[in-house]
């Protein structure tokens, strides 16, 4: 005990200024934990109270802040260690913040601005004065249309007081339906920029080629050609009735597509359309035999044919030819 006291005394005498070195070391011994704990507790209580009553302190013209400060002053007299002093500092910061807010309040109290009245006036301004009596939350319970018209009216008035630049939109929208107008524009910039830099651009363009259905058409044509040639291999020298080949009794649109694809086959010279004895079109394969037969005139000169098919025609053909299933099966 004694050693500690002596040590404490020595330390204290170093810290304090020479004039006050006469503090009785015995006094310092009496700084017991209990007292410090109680001081800390009081500080915390003070801080808590002030925080809880914050609104009251700031908004009203009460003396409570001054009283709290005086209480802190009294407490501080008993403080001798840093731990309590830190709490005191914390309280000071809090008190000064509140003081600042009180000062701010002082300014605006002179303004005579009543926000509740502002709210009511807004409703009157829009023309909803009959709602005033319904209580405070007028707009929450009422009709959607009324809400919309309220905000639109306010909007109209508000925009006349602001110099907002109108937003720029393309009249008919941008090309891509999903992304916003900005994306294609920036992409275009990026592309132009890149074009001057490296050579990747045209490759990209090819990939993005929007006529990708070109390939789909070719694929389809090839597939149908395959089907046709399979048929011709199965039944050699037997031309197939054109209508039986292209018509899909279940789908008019597929029929039209088939006619479209077959026309490519004929154009490219893989098959030939002829009228048979009954003057019905038939599809014939073109192979070496036919060429050898000396039908040079017909194979060299190109003829043009136009086929028009209406929904009714299609139904009639299906009925007349008694087509029950499509020869060209779907790929999907």
């Amino acid at each position: 005990m004694k050693v500690e006291a002596a040590a404490v005394a020595d330390a204290c005498s170093d810290d304090l200024s020479c004039g006050e070195a006469d503090i009785d070391p015995s006094l310092l011994e009496l700084v017991d934990e209990e007292k410090c704990r109680s001081i800390r507790k009081q500080y915390r209580q003070l801080i808590y109270n002030v925080q809880q009553n914050r609104d009251d302190i700031v908004n009203t013209a009460s003396e409570s802040l001054t009283e709290a400060l005086e209480e802190a002053n009294v407490l501080f007299d008993a403080v001798s260690r840093t731990r309590e002093a830190a709490l005191d500092a914390q309280f000071l910061v809090l008190a000064s913040d509140l003081g600042k807010e009180k000062a701010k309040q002082l300014n605006s109290d002179m303004s005579l601005f009543n926000q509740v009245a502002f709210c009511d006036f807004l409703l009157i301004f829009v023309g909803l004065n009959w709602m005033e009596d319904d209580g405070r939350d007028a707009l929450s319970d009422c009709d959607d249309n009324i809400v919309r018209s309220f905000w639109e009216t306010v909007q109209k008035e508000a925009t006349s007081w602001m110099l907002q630049a109108e937003t720029f939109h393309f009249i008919f929208g941008s090309f891509k339906s999903e992304p916003s107008a900005r994306k294609p524009r920036l992409e275009h910039r990026k592309r132009v920029y890149r074009m001057e830099e490296n050579g990747d651009m045209p490759t990209k363009l090819r990939k993005l080629d929007l006529c990708s259905n070109q390939e789909a058409t070719e694929k389809e044509v090839e597939r149908i050609l395959g089907l046709l040639q399979t048929y011709f291999q199965k039944y050699p020298d037997t031309p197939v009735s054109y209508f039986e080949f292209v018509i899909d009794p279940n789908s008019f649109s597929r029929t039209v597509e088939n006619i479209f694809y077959v026309s490519f086959i004929v154009r490219d010279g893989f098959a030939r359309i002829r009228l048979d004895q009954d003057r019905l079109p038939i599809l014939e394969p073109i192979n070496i035999n036919h060429v050898g037969e000396g039908n040079d005139s017909s194979s060299h000169c190109r003829k043009q044919g136009v086929i028009s098919l209406s929904l009714q025609d299609w139904k009639n053909i299906v009925a007349t030819f008694e087509i029950s299933e499509a020869m060209i099966t779907n790929s999907y």
Partner: protein, 279 residues
């Protein structure tokens, strides 16, 4: 040989590289193109040669379109974005491009290109034309009508001394059917609109108040508000709603008047000639 081909487009560049005319562009400008480009970059000095008027005009046009589109969201446009997306190699003439674009915007659209804050390197577009009654009908559907809500909040902030607490805002807006946690018919998420969207657009500033428990924030006017409107205008809006004269709020009126005078004075206070002090 200048860095940029005189005629923009593949033809010019191809001629320089001397590739065959029949080759499809993709093959000739693929790896070969990149390599030669890389080689060119290594040897060419950083400063490109003089650019033709036509090229500059084109760049200015791109810049104008970029600014217009970017302004749709009303988020300030950053200088770095401009450099990255539009200007690219023309960055050495960026000031000139910006100035020309600003002239174009003002002359054709009536929009001013202003820097949000000095040295902030972000820009916004401000209308130079005062809004007119008939404009409202022509405006069409410009999305959700948020300006009304914004103006109310701005009015609230100004009339309460240029700063209010977020809790006060909600106490007020609740009476108008706008709740921070409830989905609103028009505004969707009002809390997000006010505390995030408006802040991002720089209409409002949203700061935390220290030492509050539970945490509270304060709202103030943002830089864009000062550019697009003024205290006097907001006061007049509030007065119109009250059907009173702005002078009925003397404190705010004086403040607004002071701001008007400050704006009317020439901007650069530092260079204003001061009379020699006489002793």
């Amino acid at each position: 040989m200048s860095q940029k081909p005189k005629s923009r487009g593949r033809a010019g560049a191809q001629a320089e590289r001397g590739s065959g005319g029949e080759e499809a562009p993709s093959t000739s400008r693929g790896p070969g193109g990149a390599a030669s480009q890389g080689g060119r970059r290594a040897e060419a000095p950083p400063t490109p040669g003089p650019r033709s008027q036509k090229q500059l005009e084109l760049k200015v046009a791109e810049l104008v379109q970029f600014l217009l589109i970017k302004d749709q969201r009303k988020i300030p446009i950053r200088r770095t974005d401009i450099l990255r997306h539009v200007v690219g190699d023309y960055r050495d003439v960026l000031p000139e491009l910006l100035q020309r674009a600003a002239e174009r915007l003002e002359y054709v659209f009536g929009y001013r290109l202003v820097e949000l804050e000095p040295r902030s390197n972000t820009y916004i577009l401000v209308n130079t034309l005062e809004p007119v009654e008939e404009d409202a009908e022509m405006r069409g559907d410009q999305g959700t009508p948020t300006t009304g809500l914004l103006m109310i909040v701005l009015g609230l902030i100004f009339m309460k001394g240029n700063s209010i607490k977020e809790t006060e805002v909600w106490d007020f807006l609740r009476r108008l059917g706008v709740h921070p946690t409830k989905k609103h018919l028009i505004f969707g998420d009002p809390k997000k609109l006010i505390t995030e969207d408006f802040v991002r657009q720089r209409y409002l500033e949203y700061r935390r108040i220290p030492h509050t428990d539970p945490v509270d924030y304060e709202l103030q006017w943002g830089p864009r508000t000062n550019l697009e409107t003024s205290k006097m205008k907001v006061l007049k809006f509030v007065a119109k709603v009250h059907n009173q004269d702005p002078k009925d709020w003397p404190a705010q009126y004086c403040e607004a008047l002071a701001e008007e005078e400050a704006r009317a004075r020439p901007q650069t206070g530092g260079t204003a000639p001061t009379p020699a002090p006489s002793s």
